[in-house]
């Protein structure tokens, strides 16, 4: 196994292109090293992207932010302005593993690992985040909800890698939140995860909403029916009730060691309601 740490996107792309699929991108490594140790992956070359400036920066971008794919959870947590604009997204990233994991794990890695249970993904979907991808044919952008195509499978083509995310600006009276359920208080993989983002007009009527749902299908989902249940309402309990049933009917989970179909479906609605109330409160206060 070769280890390379290029300093430009171009070098990284050509290294990955030459590897013809036997290349693996290393950001925080909190998933990759476990896979290397267990022999699940045997890459010919590991391309460490952390020396590429764009993957490590948080910069403002027309009222929103551009966040490098390899920026760690700990660094996000320390970025006051980003935390103020998208608290739900930052909270979601902070839920990935322990303090030690936070010192390494990144949103980019969390997304590219393509686990249906990735914590940051439903929050990024709710936030309407875009992925910036570098590749042999130049750069392209993709909405987060279109990035993963199945468990462990992404839309990335050979030679491509995820450089950064765009988190958009947002009007006043907007708020987001992410909640997940785990059996313990820490250190577990999400059994269910729900991200909610909404904007209110000056009369407190919901004018825009997005709801992301994780760990209940092959990939994290954008649930437009759930959002539609909120838009045009004052996000009263009645609307939330309709939203939660939309969430439950969007669930297509499996039975596994972490939860049952029944349990995941049941709890997804519960968390959606709770996350929605937090997002609402934040919107009202912003």
């Amino acid at each position: 196994m070769r280890y390379e740490a290029p300093e430009t996107k171009g070098e990284a792309v050509s290294l990955l292109a030459m590897a013809e699929g036997s290349g693996r991108v290393l950001a925080g490594g909190t998933d990759l090293l476990v896979q290397l140790r267990s022999g699940v992956v045997k890459p010919g070359v590991v391309v460490d992207i952390k020396k590429i400036v764009e993957t490590r920066e948080i910069t403002t971008e027309n009222g929103g932010f551009r966040v490098g794919a390899a920026v760690t959870g700990a660094e996000l947590d320390e970025h006051k302005a980003l935390k103020k604009l998208w608290p739900g997204v930052v909270e979601a990233v902070e839920l990935i593993g322990s303090t030690q994991i936070q010192g390494r794990a990144s949103m980019g890695g969390n997304l590219c690992n393509a686990s249906p249970a990735a914590d940051s993904v439903p929050a990024l979907i709710a936030a309407g985040a875009q992925c910036h991808i570098a590749g042999p044919d130049g750069e392209r952008t993709l909405p987060v909800e279109e990035f993963c195509t199945g468990p462990g499978v992404t839309n990335l083509q050979t030679g491509e890698f995820l450089v950064s995310f765009s988190l958009p600006s947002r009007p006043r009276h907007s708020g987001d939140a992410y909640l997940r359920f785990i059996p313990r208080t820490e250190m577990d993989i999400a059994v269910v995860g729900v991200g909610v983002s909404l904007s209110l007009d000056s009369n407190g009527i919901c004018v825009a909403a997005r709801v992301g749902l994780g760990a209940v299908a092959a990939t994290a989902l954008l649930v437009t029916e759930a959002a539609d249940a909120l838009i045009g309402t004052s996000v009263d309990e009645g609307a939330i009730e309709i939203m939660t049933s939309a969430i439950r009917s969007a669930c297509r989970p499996i039975d596994d060691k972490r939860g049952t179909i029944v349990y995941r479906t049941r709890v997804s609605g519960v968390l959606a309601g709770r996350a929605c109330r937090i997002a609402l409160q934040r919107a009202e206060q912003s």
Binding site: S38, P183, E186, M187, D188, Y263, L271
Partner: protein, 770 residues
Amino acid sequence: MAAVEKIFNDTITDRETRDKTLKWVGTRAPRPDGVDKVTGRAKFGADTYLPNMLYGKVLRSPHAHARIKSIDMSRALALPGVKAGVTRDDFPDHPAGAVQPAGEMVINYRDMTRNIMAREKALYEGHAVAAVAAVNERVARQALSLIEVDYEVLPHVIDVEEAMKPGAPLVREDLITEGVEPVPEEPSNIAKRVEFGHGDLDLGFSKADVIIERSFKTQPVHQGYIEPHACLASFSEDGQAELWCSTQGHYVARGHCAKLLQMDVSKLRVTCSEIGGGFGGKTVVYLEPLALALSRKACQPVKMVMTRDEVFRASGPTSGASMDVRIGATKDGRITAGEAVLKFQAGAFGGSPVPAAAQCAFAPYDLENVKTIGFDVLCNRPKVAAYRAPGAPLGEYAVESVVDELAKTLEIDPLEFRLQNAAKEGTDSSYGPKFGPIGCVETLETAQSHEHYLAPLKPGQGRGVASGYWFNIGGQTSATLNLCEDGSVALVVGTPDIGGSRASLTMMAAESLGIELDKVRPLIGDTSALGYNMLTGGSRVTFAGGIAVHGAAADMIKQLRERAAATWDVPVDDVEWHGGQAVAVNGYKDQEDPMGLLDIAKDMAKSGGPIVGRCSTNAQGAGPSFGCHIVDVDVDKETGRVSVARYTVIQDAGKAVHPSYVEGQYQGGAVQGIGWALNEEYIYDENGKVENAGFLDYRVPVCSDVPMIDTVIVEVPNPTHPYGVRGVGETPLVPPLAAISNAVENALDIRFTELPMSPPRVLAAIESVG
């Protein structure tokens, strides 16, 4: 040595007065090994290296149950850098009846040699099938992939009740159940049936106004020590060997390895590393005989360390169980009869802790009519290893749940109900012997008046209590005190220090000698340093080690008095040992200046040579320990998550030599119990393979899961011990399962009869009652 003898003979009242004069016992002194353990200097199992060292790796069965038709090592052994390989052919077989005492139990070496390396069949996923030693781990792993094993996969069975059914896949084809008459003709997975009790159940139940009968089920769990099994073996060409390993008993490990490798015990020297947790799981051998066999072939040192995955698949664990309990009581709260039938998974070989579970289940109670029956059942899991009060947490989970339900039905406070039926001195225990002085009533009364029990609950919370019992044991123990030329003392003991025993043993040595604590330096000797020592387990070390250390001090004091008497030219009977000094008494009072250790030590050579206090004993009369736990829980009714809001452990320690480490045992046991009750469980797929062999999905409690654990140390002295010590290490894991289940019942008005009470189970129960 009047002063010392007195400590042995003194009565409880003497003891109370003496307790006031104790200088070290009962204090929170610094632990002698503390600095090494906070600086990273302490050497654990995987922390040693030898020149020319090889790395050993084990090939493990991917099948839960399979006949091994052939094993071809040739390609693996041909790989450059591979120095040795071993399989079943490298370990001599033992006849079926080859049982002999070793460590705590009689060991069946026919079974043990099959557990460390599969022979006819692989009996569980993770069962060792072959091992190799190579120049580094990478080559060793590569070699494993070149070993060709031809398996014939067989049907498997995991669940205890499935395993007991006629026609279940047989783990051992020729197993005839022990303990039933007439002797069965057909083989089955039931290795043994045991029965305990006294009185007349029918009569007892006929007197009952209320009878409650429930069935319980628990999933198997693992001890969960943080340090994986590790060892380093070095065999020399002349047939002598050295073994360094993380073990609860290096003398016991020596005996097992010598037997399995057919070598003289004296030719194997075992040194125990610092041990990173064991809880019973490091009382047996796994890697050690393999490393020795590989080293013997390669004539190079071989290091072996388990991965966490191997620890979960191939070591420990403890039994999952199915249990039926029936208890009857009168309206005024007197239990008239209790009956329990316990079925325990033994794993691939007989020897589950079901006998102890059957003995302990009703132990907190004074019962006229009681009967417990236990079944030891083979299944395709690793042979279970001891886990902290082996068996007792399960049996008492079932009994204490029904006791709680009875109290509720009779509208009697659960502690009051327990007190009305509590075992006390003179009670015929549920398993036979009369109890001597015990603290069962004291722990219950302490709980009744504890601020926690009296505090109001927050809305939605539930509170539960439960009692627990463990026998505790003594056993063979040796200790040596070497007087150094400057008057300081080197203490050598032979029991691995798993949680502060260097501190407690040193404190008792200083107390018995009457000298400063910092003048005694403890060391854990290797197997060549002392006579035999049974392992660190059964809550025996502070009890039995204390007796040995105290005896060694008595032996040293006898010699010190003789040296002083000779020096003064007075009869030895006119010299006594007081406050760390030889003092002339009787007719010679005040005629000689007292001689301290330094005075005697500096002229030791002239007065007769080295002074060594020795004691090798087989400690008897371990004092049983009772505990009572109080727990408050919150339940999230929408997600089914149970969280522990407050927890108090009350337990009889006899005498707490080092209260901080006694509290630590109470707190650690309670939190292991919280894990067992709420989230810990082995999850098997349809092929009998473990799905959660790691700390990610085998969910031990993390720091943010639990509150502070309050403790109360009750002290009802054990009269057989010089300082009144009872074992304390195991009882703390006995009450939590029932206490937490009782608290959840109190919060939800739903009685759970299955562990763990994980969120999906709890939510399903909540929704089923609407």
